[in-house]
Amino acid sequence: MRVSGQVRVGGQVRVGGQVRVARELLLPAGRALPWRSPAAGAGLGLLILAVPRLTDTEPAPWLALVLLRCAILAHAVGLAFLMDDPARHTTATVPTRRALRTAVRLALITPVTALWWTAALLLVPSHIRPPTGDLTLEAAAVCVLALAAGAAAVRLTDAPAPGVSVAAALLFTAVVAPLLLPDQWALFVPPGDQRWGVAHERWAGVLAGAVVLWGICLPEPLRRGPGALRLRSPCGTSDPSRT
């Protein structure tokens, strides 16, 4: 049906370009973001760091490091939900690219994360605070890894909300990695340890790997490669009759 006098939205309206789309998207994307999970993760992280202050005790430097790492993990687990999108299937075939939509989400969450990290560092007294730059590298690597894992889940599955699985996998990895990583690959070392510098070169490697993984998973596939992992049909074949 063509309503008389309807807006013909061909060429004139669609001349915006990606920047205008991104600008218009900021507000609705902000409302569509699953804020609760990242907020819970961030809150838990700050709470972990605030425990010594609340109990009026000063932690040993090694404990301050452990608490900071736990806070980073809590925040990253929250970020694992950032790619959740209940409207994913409804908006699967819009012309705005997934990369732009993700960039808008990132633009919204990055300043909040930066503020959170500043607050987290300030909660640890300066004289027992581990080297800030190196620890920021660890935080960046873990957070980007969480986001990259979310992007991979979106790329490889049809789940609109893969956050729970990604968060569980991240937690599992965080528990298992320190136990299973051989000494020469150690990541979780204390500041006084002679392996601190080398460990942070590895953290830089983790960050680079996560960025590459994210870069691979961000664009939508034009062709399915031989390793395509979509093992189940999205709807019809795997569901019982809906009639």
């Binding site: 309206v13 001349v15 409207a87 699967a92 019809g236």
Partner: protein, 286 residues
């Protein structure tokens, strides 16, 4: 007539299951129905044509755009409306906000024109009254209409509808049928459904899929004609019938190969569909 959609040799596999097997088709303006049992490959075909999932093999164009290159896919999507089988929403959005969000994603960046367009499609699906209501407070039928409005925003030339009437009550289904008929005026609509009566009433053409292949391509009348002389009534269920059931009058309606002297009945599109599937099953078994 120039086809809106032209596809050849589309194949796609999920693990061991061949969801699409060398599917070729051409779609022109009007509503085309896509029938088939669960697992036939209907949703997969729709998702491939809507560029939600790429095919393993084969090629297609929609409105002259080839999605094999990013630019072609983007152009294709500018002319596409897609209503998935299980549409999802941001439940805290109102109907207006959600359709507006989709309109932005469809690159309608001029706010005034976009809001006018959003109001137009919400009017078209009869949701003007509830456009300020949160989606989580709308009924299932209303949500389905929000999803249809989202598909219609931007006036797409090719509309893909995946079982849009599932879960709707008869009145809502009739309303939806009206909307689809309106949407089919001046554009190409591909409608996947299990409801043969929807196809009989709406479609100028019907495709029947089974086992990832197209088993029938013709008009609803041609599909119905496949059952001509193969539907009969009897006082007992005929064991030779492919399908048979007792009707409200107490007699049995049988579909299959009638015995000599059988009391033949007027076939329906559903009878033709059943016999087509039976033929497809026999082909697969062979």
């Amino acid at each position: 007539m120039i086809p809106t959609v032209s596809a050849s040799g589309l194949s796609l596999r999920y693990g061991r299951a061949q969801a699409l097997d060398d599917v070729s088709l051409r779609l022109t303006q009007g509503v085309t129905g896509l029938l088939g049992p669960n697992g036939a490959g209907k949703t997969t075909l729709l998702r491939v044509l809507a560029t939600a999932v790429p095919a393993d093999r084969g090629a297609f164009t929609v409105l002259g755009h080839d999605p094999a290159a990013p630019a072609g896919r983007q152009e294709l999507r500018r002319g596409l409306g897609y209503l998935p089988q299980t549409p999802g929403f941001h439940p805290d959005f109102t109907a207006f906000e959600f359709v507006d969000y989709v309109a932005i994603l469809k690159e309608l960046t001029d706010r005034t024109a976009r809001h006018r367009e959003v109001r137009r499609v919400l009017d078209q699906v009869d949701l003007a009254e509830v456009r300020g209501k949160r989606i989580k407070k709308l009924s299932g039928g209303m949500r389905q209409r929000v999803a249809l409005a989202a598909a219609l925003v931007g006036d797409p030339g090719f509309l893909v509808l995946d079982e849009p009437t599932v879960g709707l009550d008869p009145e809502q289904r009739m309303r939806f049928r009206e909307l689809i008929a309106q949407a089919g005026e001046g554009r190409t609509v591909l409608l996947s459904t299990h409801q043969t009566e929807d196809v009989a009433m709406l479609c100028h053409r019907v495709l029947v899929m089974a086992g990832g292949r197209i088993r029938f391509d013709g008009t609803p009348a041609e599909l119905t004609a496949r059952a001509a002389g193969r539907v009969w009534s009897s006082t007992e269920r005929d064991p030779a019938a492919k399908a048979g059931w007792r009707t409200g009058t107490g007699s049995f309606r049988n579909v299959g190969s009638p015995p000599d002297g059988a009391d033949l009945l007027e076939p329906t599109l559903e009878d033709g569909y059943l016999l087509t599937l039976d033929g497809a099953d026999a082909e697969v078994a062979a």
